[in-house]
Homo-oligomer: 442 residues x 2
């Protein structure tokens, strides 16, 4: 048995951010991180770029090296350390095939999320793979390079980015999505821009449900309710779920299924914290608990947990839920709610959809399609965009949503004009003016 | 004598925005615009891109055609119409070499700004030109194409952009700046990035004062207090001043020398409004009157003036003062105050200067240098950046400054992570964390 001041389960973004923060504030504390893989600060967002060949060594997916945490930051990192049981004040860890008991004073769950299983016939066939921990990057790339045809099941962010990556390797890609549009969390007008770009590059199958895989020794076909598609590799990216197996007996879960936390990242039990993709936090737009499993909130909730675990105070305000990505020539991004999400949350909404050039008219830089959703009082609920110059507008939009802006703020926020990249009436401002009309403002 | 409901002096961004707004809200009103040139909605921000050849016809610098305003919007646009006198209730306009009297019910000054004269020996020599109205674009391009060596006096935004444009034409460019850095409204750390890029392309002469031009029939040399530089063309861009000749006898000017306005864009006299580059408005960061002569505020103050002139109410909140530009591979941008400006305004400041990659480490996308200035209470006063990915960060920063954000907001605002263009700890967030330390926050 060994005593530690702080035990952290999971060495990803949240866990390592918390550990780092605690050691800055309490350098004499013993902070131990238990990570079941051999990697820490693993950042799986980069997997598609490794697969498509933007860089060569998948180890670069780790933001920092383990030795950096051990030597520079004084964190006691245990890799290959699988936590098998957690109770109040103690955990049991399987390390080097032995079970060890550690007593802790404070505990952080930073167990992340895991890929949802598809649960169809023959889903255990060789060549059916999931995108989760970073080791899968190496495996997917190796298999993709040997394949002619690759099927991707699911067209959320991971599915879309993998479709981009694998088509760049010169492979024939079929993307199968159960809903009627790619990136289904976007509204139809915005997703349509992506859809038309995807259809140029891949075989995009919408509103199709995968019912089985087939093959002799390994996967040869994906079978859906509408057809069948040959493939040498099937990549499944049908969503993720919080990793709460260890936590669920000990602390309360929220409605989303993730661990319920307050603004200090405390769980329902004293001295037990949660951060990152296993934790439920506040959606700043709705003000309600939400499960926002993204890299930047993971780092920030880890940071906040670390500050509070160290005995200082910092409150996490929640997250707007903001993402950007791209598929070939279409950039796409979203901050806050889409219209259908807002309606589902009970808002009475107005929305504006505008298509303009992203830059001054004499630059050939392409169009941006932008949608702003607001409630009847004029509060902005969400911004989505597709096309060119999306990143800038989403940076502006997320900052305004964070500060609970209304359409007047969207109109008057001082977005800069530089003819090669923006417009004197920014697309965000044009959308705001459009909403003025719909809200009966002058 | 003729009666008009609304007389607008100046057909640029502010004037045409106001006129358009009034006609939307009061379609039966007679709205007359007096523009001394033959162009309306002229947008001189694009001049450098015309000069460098991004587009062929300088008329494209006009956002809309005159006929659009006349036929689609019902605005009575008079071009070649020089207002020679303004009094309460009436103006005298020189049109087709005749003076005409118009009586007005409401008046808008939208007279813009003019290039400051250099006022040195021989500054009237042929080949010494100013960048002001859009006709100068055509002239500068014509002269530049015939030149071997071009001198640019001044390295504010216009000087820097003209240096970029003219060097792209293959001409030898000398830039002469009286202060010790280019874009002197930026702090030295940020301007240094631009300086080193400019030095690769042009002969950059800092801390030199132009004292004369020399030449027989036309300019052949620029003489400074430190040397002399051969040139076939000298472009003077040493700042601008509000065009208030007509207004100054009638309405109050502010400290800045521009026309004093309230949030409805009303001047000191009833029924007389001012908008655009001739008007003084509020700087949102300082809360004080300021002269912010930029294209987007010009359009918005015009819009606000139009709403209020039409008898509705809309208040202009002021401007953060936000700009972006670039010189070859260096993007540069600023929202709010630089450190020296903040100190001059009386703030006790802290600042953070960070240099990081703009994207994930495995992308070769270059560095961003970013400086954030805050006051001792943590309120953010300004953000400056140079390098790659500047536009996105300045869009985010300007929105936060508009909403009077503090360093905690800067840390928690939900900037998106997408490895090819951003980082999991965004440079803005890294700077915020750095300021936490300096402000003694955990």
């Amino acid at each position: 048995m060994r005593y530690v001041d702080v035990a952290i389960i999971g060495g990803g973004a949240a866990g390592m951010s918390a550990a780092s923060r605690i050691k800055v504030l309490r350098s004499d504390w013993n902070v131990m991180v238990f990570e079941k893989t051999s990697f820490v600060s693993h950042a799986p967002c980069g997997i598609p770029f490794y697969v498509s060949g933007f860089f060569e060594h998948f180890e670069e997916l780790c933001t920092y090296d383990i030795n950096h945490f051990r030597n520079e930051r004084g964190i006691d990192v245990h890799t290959g350390a699988k936590v098998v049981e957690v109770s109040e004040g103690a955990i049991i860890v399987e390390e080097n095939s032995k079970e060890k008991l550690y007593e802790w004073d404070k505990l952080l769950f930073a167990t992340g999320a895991k890929a949802k299983r598809l649960d169809v016939k023959n889903d255990e066939l060789e060549g059916v793979v999931y995108v989760d921990e970073i080791l899968s990057a190496e495996r997917i790339k190796r298999l993709a390079l040997k394949s002619e045809k690759v099927a991707i099941i699911g067209s959320g962010y991971i599915g879309v980015e993998m479709a981009d990556a694998i088509s760049r390797l010169g492979k024939e890609v079929t993307v199968i999505e159960i809903l009627e549009r790619p990136l289904p969390e976007y509204d139809a007008e915005i997703a349509a821009i992506l859809k038309s770009e995807m259809e140029k590059i891949v075989d995009l199958r919408l509103s199709e449900r995968v019912i089985a895989f087939e093959g002799k020794d390994r996967v040869e076909r994906v079978i859906t309710d509408k057809g069948e598609y040959k493939c040498d590799l099937a990549i499944v990216a049908v969503g993720v779920a919080p990793n709460i197996e260890l936590a669920k007996k000990l602390v309360k879960l929220g409605k989303s299924g993730a661990i319920s936390t307050n603004s200090k990242m405390e769980t329902s039990k004293e001295d037990i914290y949660a951060a990152g993709d296993c934790a439920e936090t506040i959606n700043i737009v709705t003000g309600k608990p939400d499960w926002i499993h993204l890299a930047t909130p993971a780092n920030k909730t880890g940071y906040v947990a670390g500050v509070n675990m160290a005995g200082y105070e910092l409150n996490y305000p929640g997250s707007v839920k903001c993402q950007i990505t791209s598929f070939y020539n279409v950039e796409i991004g979203k901050a806050g709610l889409s219209e259908y999400e807002a309606i589902r949350e009970g808002y009475e909404v107005v929305s504006a959809f505008v298509t303009t050039k992203s830059s001054a008219k004499y630059f050939q830089d392409g169009l941006i399609h932008l949608k702003v959703v607001a409630d009847r009082s004029g509060r902005v609920l969400g911004v989505q965009a597709a096309g060119k110059g999306v990143g800038m507008r989403i940076y502006g939009a997320t900052a305004l949503l964070y500060k609970k802006a209304d359409v007047r703020d969207l109109f008057f926020a001082d977005f800069p004009y530089y003819p090669p990249v923006s417009r004197v009436w920014d697309p965000l401002v044009v959308a705001a003016r459009n909403l003025f009309r719909k809200l009966g403002m002058p």
